[in-house]
Structure formats: C-alpha cells, structure tokens
Symmetry: C3
Subunit: 340 residues, 3 copies
C-alpha cells in the first residue's frame, strides 16, 4: 500500500484533524498498530489495543485526545479515530480510475442515454430507455436493463445486473454479482400446479447506498422494492419483492428479508438473520446473527433467537429434552400444584 | 404500468371470468386495492383487505362472487381472484420481446444447434453439442456449456451459466446469476489432504420450472441432479449434487439441500431452511423458515426447528438455561421420584 | 459417460491398485453399484452397500481386500475404495480441454502478463498488472482484475470475478459466479450516517484449493484475507475481510465467516453454519450444519447449536416454553430449596 505519500500536515488539514508533530512527515500508507511499519499511519480506536501504542512502528497514529497524552510521537487527534482512519485510508485506495467514455465492445441500445462524463466498461450491455448519470462508472460485464437509471457518481464495480426498472441514486456502490430488479417470487396455486404471478414493479435505491457481492434485490410485484439513503448491504443478502428498508440501516452477509416487509431506519441486521414477510420492524432495531424474526417488532432494541453452541455431546442431550420441553414444564406445574 | 389498455370485456373473455359492468371500460394496468387509480384493475383475494373494497379508486376489481354482491362497480368474478390477478396481470408485463436470431457478438461453437426461432443475446457463449430449442430466449451474457439443452420457449433472462451436461425442459424461466451444472462438492480424504471426487453427472430440469437469481444447482457425481416439472426455486438457493426435487415443489430464498436428498412433490420449503444429505422427504411436506431437517420425513405436514425470537436480555437468560436443559430435566425426574 | 475405454490392467497400474481378474477388460465409465451396467466400474466404500455387491451388473468393482474375498468377478483392491474411485473416475471427465491462447474477443490490458501455455476464453477481461501463470485456464466471461495473479495450472471455470489484489496459488479450481477480492463490509458510524471504511488489502489463496459457485471472498481492510493450501469451499459461502482459513479445512454450502476470524487446519464447517467475527477456531474443529459459533473454540471436537426439527404443533408448544425457560428453571430451584 505504498504511494508517493502525503505530508502529515496536509492530511491533518484535509480531514480537519489536529496535528501533533512534524507536518512534513511523509505518510505512504495505513496499517494496524500491530502491523504498521515506517511511513505508515496507524489508528487507535478500540481501547483493547491501547497497549500496542507503546510498541507500534507506525510513523504516526490517529487517536483520541485522551490517548495522545500517553503517546510521544507524531499523531492526529480525532474525535472518533475510526472515522478518522476511514477518511485518511481513502487516500490510499488503489482501485484504478476508469476511462471516461464507452468501451468499444459495449452494446448500447438506441434510446439509452449516457452522460458524457460516465464510464462504460468492456462487454457492458445498456438497454433501451436506460440512463447512466454524470460521472457514473459502469464496470466490465455490467448489464443496465430496460428503463434502469444509474445516478450521478454511482459505481457498479463489475458484472452487476440491473434487470429492469431499477432506479439507483447518487454515489451508490454496487459490487460484482449483485442482481437487482429480477422478478420477485410470486406464485398462485391453481388446482394442481403453480402459475406465475407477474412481477410488474421496480426497485428504487436511494443515495449513498452500498450493495454487496452476489446480493439480490427483487423488483416489486405491484409497486416497488425500496431502499432509503445510506442503506448498507453486505454480500449474499436476499431482499424480496416489495420490501422497504429505511435509511441508514445496515445488514450483514447472508441475511434475508421476505416479501413486503418494512424495516425501519438505523436498524442493524446480523449475518445470516432472516425476517419473514409482511412484517414491520421499528427504527433502531438490532437483530442478532442467524436470528429469525417471525413477528413485527415495535420497540427499538436487540432481538435474538436460537440456542448457544455447545460440544455436540452436551448439545444432543439438551436438544433431546427440548423436544419434550412442554411436557417438562407441565410436570413442574403439577409438582407445584400438588404442594399447595 | 400504463399501456394502451384492454377492454374489460375482452379481459373477461380471454381469461374466462364473469363480467359485471361495462365491457367497454379500458384497463391500463393492475394495482393493489389501496394503490389503484383510475384505469387500473385491483383484486380482492385475502379477506383481510375486504374493507378496502369500499374505498378503492380502481376502475374494476377481480373478486369472488361472494364479495361481488357488496361491490357496486365493474368487476370480474373469479373462483380464485389471486389466480385471476396473475392471469390478468400478465397482460401488463413490460419485459421487452427479444430479437429472434443470434446477436453478432455471441460466440457459438461449431456443433452447437440453435433453433431458427430462438434468440441469443449479446456476449452469449454457446458451446459444443449444446442445443437451444424453438422460441427459447437466451439473454445477454449467458453461457450454454457443452452438451447443455435448453427446451422450447424457455428463457434465460441474462447472465445465466449452464456449465455442462444440463438439460432444461420447456417454458422454464431462469433468472440472472444462476449457475446450473457446476461440479458438486465431492471430496475424499487421503491421509492428510483432500482429493477431488470427479463429478461426472448432469442436471435435468423438467418443464415449467422457475430458477431464481444467483441460485446454484450442482451436477451429479454419478447420475444426475433432477428437478421435476413445475418446481419453483427462489433466489440464492443451493441444490447439491444428486438431489431430486419432485414436481410442483416450491422453495423460498436462501434454502439449501445437501447431496443425494430426495424431496417429494408439492413440498414447500421455507426461506433459509436447510435439508441435510441422503434424506427422503415425503410429498406435501412443509418446512418452516430457517428450520434444519436432519432426518427423513415420512409424513406430510408442517415441520419446524429453532426458537422464537425475543428481546436479547430475555433470550440470554433462557439460552443460558438451554445449555443445562438435560440437567434441569433430571432434577425434575428426581423431584418426582422422591415423592413416590 | 462412455469413452473409448481403458483396460482394467492399465487402470490398476496407473493408480497403483491391486488387480484381480482379466487385465484386458475394457472399462468405459464409472457408476454406483446399483446403477452400473456392463463396461462400467463400481466401488464399494460404505459397508452399508455391501449387499449390492452380489447384484451389481458392474464389469469390475473397486473395493477393500476384506470385501474382495466375497466377490467373484474382476476387481481392484484399494486401501480406501472411495479414494480409488476418485482417482479412477477422473479418467472419465468430459470437461473439454480448452484451447491454449487468448480468445480474440478477450480484452487484455497493457501490462498484463499471460503465460504462453495459458488459455483465456471469450469475453474475458484481464486488467493491468494481472498475471496468468503456466497452463492456467481462464474460462469464458472471467475478470482478472488489477494486480491479480492466477497460479500455474489453476482453472477459473467461467464467469469468475477476481476484483483486485487477489493472488491464487497453483492447481486451484474456481467455479462460476465466485467473486473474490470485493471490498469487505467496513463501516464507521459518524453522528447520523455511515461512512465507508476503505478496503485496502487483498486475498491470498494457497495451492490446491477449490472455491464453489457464487461463493464470495472479500479482500482485507488492512492486510489480506488468507486461505491456506487445500482449502475446500462449497457453493454460496461468504468469507468476510481478514478471515484466515487453515490448510485442509472444508466448508459446506452457504456457510459464512465474519470478519477477522481465524479458522484452524483440518476443520469441517457444516452447511449454512455461521461463525462470528474476531474469533479463533482451533484445528480439527467440526461445526454442524446451521450452527452459529459465537465464541472462540479452543478444543478440537464437534460443536452444535439449534434445536431438533419436529412437527410444527409439537414444536410450537416447546418453543413457547423456551421463552420462559429461565423462569421454569427458577421454579425447579425453588421446589428443591423448599424441600431442604
């Protein structure tokens, strides 16, 4: 992660951090306190790592004012060092800047509109009535389907499929393999077989969202599937048709939401968690990993299902008893009753 | 969802529904009762929404004969209004009709055969001894691997990978990112390392199936992985090698079936549910969301595992007790024994 | 699975197996004992199938010396017949050998280096500073991003995305839809919104690994996500940033590992299992299907969470009691106390 480097003083002023030490020091990269070497800047956010401050070989450290007093070398004082690190680290990203314009191999339908400042990579397909906004970057192998809109400064890294009727806001980042706007799973049972319920809606995604690799977001059956602003989805998440996710909600990998559920703002959904359909989840609800939400949640707070992991032999004995838990409880009832 | 519209009488006769009201009324789209506006047709299937009948602005409604008596405006009488809606809604799909023929950019191997009435989109690869049937639609970026067959009128929306030895029936719909026919996960442990067990079989998919986005169906190790007719798979489902799924079975998103398991007909597998390998599941079994099937199920019915979701503080106390549930049960045994 | 065939004696000597019977017998394919027909070789590994030995129509069988005494026809004696079958079966793979060289449609960046003996398929994109090693096979529609390296004899079947800074060892097999090297899910919360934590690391994958279809492996935030040698990942697995997986560990479909967790060597992770972040899992740990690991595991052995599946009516009664399990346990405490 070496670059030509940035002067520590320039970093401080660019991100509005307080500098202690020599403004001329050159910083070539970022690293953890434990792994940082000369020319790199580390950060101390989690107090658990405070002891590493004495031993780090980092040339500078981003830390809280409290911790700075115990640190003799160059540092940048941040109210939240993790946020500070996120800002400073962005200087050292090595994702190549794409070439503006449409790659010669791309297939662009008549009627698609592409901003002059946008970039369309190799083997992209942009279909009829699609629109790619100012400064948007459509990486290699993306499909921008009929009537899809990609907002200004958004980036589809590569191999993203916008199937149809998908509207993506500004500064949205979508990772490879994501499929947005495929048909929802709508079936009607007629006598002895299924018939497909047509999926006629779209997907609307706000500004500043991030969509992980191989995540799927289906379009609505009637009306749209909707993500607010600043919604953050990790990899391999499944969002069914007509789900609504409030702004600033974050979902971890492999979680899934069934059809027509509404999730509030500032929720945190754990990895591999599931939320059944047609529910309402309040703002600021946290669902723990691999928990299954089977009813609406009206109060903010943390929610969990499942059982703790145990060595298999112990688990087997306990699990066998779970199968008769109601009977056990009735026996306790009976014992108590007998006493009275 | 506006089109030039269909006369209500024409809709009635096309789908064999009973018309009440003016046959000349033009219908431009479908919508829910709550959201419908002028020119749109709504439907009343779930009795829970019956109260919306009085307030809907829909121009017409699809409903049961029972409900029609309470409704003064134009309507179509259906035995099952949801099925009726599915049929009528299909008139308003806006997925563009693909161009018949092979896109200039597609790479077609010598020895592949493609029906004249089929459509092959941009950047498709059709490999040796593959066959694409009459009226089949292979969307952009699909791969039809060696010895794969796509039946008449089937559609691979876009970016579908048929790896090798995959036979797909007629009128099958496959959504983007699906990977069908990849190697199953076969390993043999030799002393201190794994060796790969060759996967030599294929995948056979019947007629009228639907396969969701980013779903994976592995080919058999020896013999084939088999889906019957009218099997409906949602997104991000994993079907391992040599699984057999009976006709008319539907599986919700993120569910998974391990190798060599046989699932019956008319089963319903909930979202994120799992079924271990080498099991047999009877016809008409319903497995609830996020349940894990660890043994064969011989009787139709509904099956569930897991625990209910609770506020985390309550859950923690209960979960801690689960770790000692066998001991608690033994204590109840002892109390009862002492009494006798 | 018919080929021109191999003489049984040649198979025996090629794989160092003991031959009993006529060395000239021609073998055209492999099959299970139950399904084998003339010209095919079967195998007996699991004692459960020993009774099939008498009825199989296989022309020859791979089996243990113990079982050979009870079998009159041609056979190959193997210490481990399943390993023997894996070896012999590889003769009958029908995956076409790819053409060496770069397909005319591929887009190769200046500065990418591709071995003369490598194969690059249609519509591949190989970006700047990428390297494809000797005999490596990059199937159709793959993306080899900036600074990615594919080791000698490795194979990306098709439609694999190496996003950036991914180093893949030798003889690694990657199935379609896998996304390796996408950004990890790193977020810092600032006042009322998320900001993205830059992901600056890469992914390092050892030799002889296998990565399943639609599996995702994110690149590290700082430092790398690391897989040792002979790591075997099934389909739809999620490996978050900065995870380390020890050599010879195998993970079944849909399992997931959160950020910065270290998994030991020779572990077996069951299907749909989850492992939280920042944990350490010892060598030779087995985690059962759909279990959630919430704390570090220091001892080898088998670990499980969850409850057994039951008919829904029974489950409901037991699950309702789980919600009050702590209270039930307290009542048992009270009863015992009262007695003393």
């Amino acid at each position: 992660m070496k670059t030509t480097g940035y002067a520590l003083g320039d970093i401080a002023s660019r991100f509005d951090l307080e500098l202690r030490g020599d403004a001329q020091i050159l910083i070539h990269g970022v690293a953890t306190l434990a792994n940082a070497g000369p020319g790199e800047i580390g950060f101390l956010s989690n107090p658990r790592y405070r002891s590493q401050l004495g031993e780090t070989r980092a040339t500078a450290v981003i830390l809280r004012a409290d911790d700075a007093s115990a640190y003799a070398n160059a540092c940048l004082i941040a109210h939240d060092p993790y946020v500070g690190f996120a800002r400073v680290g962005s200087l050292f990203e090595r994702t190549p800047a794409p070439v503006v314009g449409v790659h010669a191999s791309a297939v662009i339908a008549a009627g698609a509109t592409i901003a002059d400042s946008a970039s369309i990579g190799p083997f992209c397909v942009v279909e009829a009535d699609a629109h790619v906004g100012d400064g948007a970057i459509i990486g290699a192998h993306c499909i921008v389907g009929p009537r899809c809109r990609v907002g200004a400064q958004s980036r589809l890294i590569a191999r993203v499929t916008l199937v149809q009727d998908v509207a993506i806001g500004r500064r949205v980042l979508v990772h490879p393999g994501a499929v947005i706007g495929a048909d929802g799973f709508g079936l009607a049972f007629e006598k002895d077989h299924w018939i497909k319920v047509p999926q006629l809606g779209g997907v609307v995604i706000g500004d500043d969202c991030e969509i992980g690799a191989n995540t799927t977001i289906d379009r609505g059956a009637l009306g749209d599937t909707v993500l607010g602003d600043d919604v953050r989805l990790d990899n391999q998440i499944q969002i069914a048709h007509n789900v609504t996710i409030g702004s600033h909600t974050a979902m971890a990998g492999c979680s899934a939401v069934a059809g027509s559920t509404t999730i509030g703002q500032y929720c945190m959904i754990g990895g591999s968690a599931g939320i059944l359909g047609h529910l309402t989840i309040a703002d600021r609800v946290t669902v723990h990993a691999m928990s299954l939400v089977t009813h609406s949640i009206r109060e903010p707070g943390e929610y969990t299902s499942g059982t703790p992991i145990q060595p298999n032999r112990q688990w087997r004995r306990n699990a066998a008893r779970f199968k008769h838990l109601d009977a056990i409880a009735r026996r306790v009832d009976a014992i108590e009753k007998e006493k009275k």
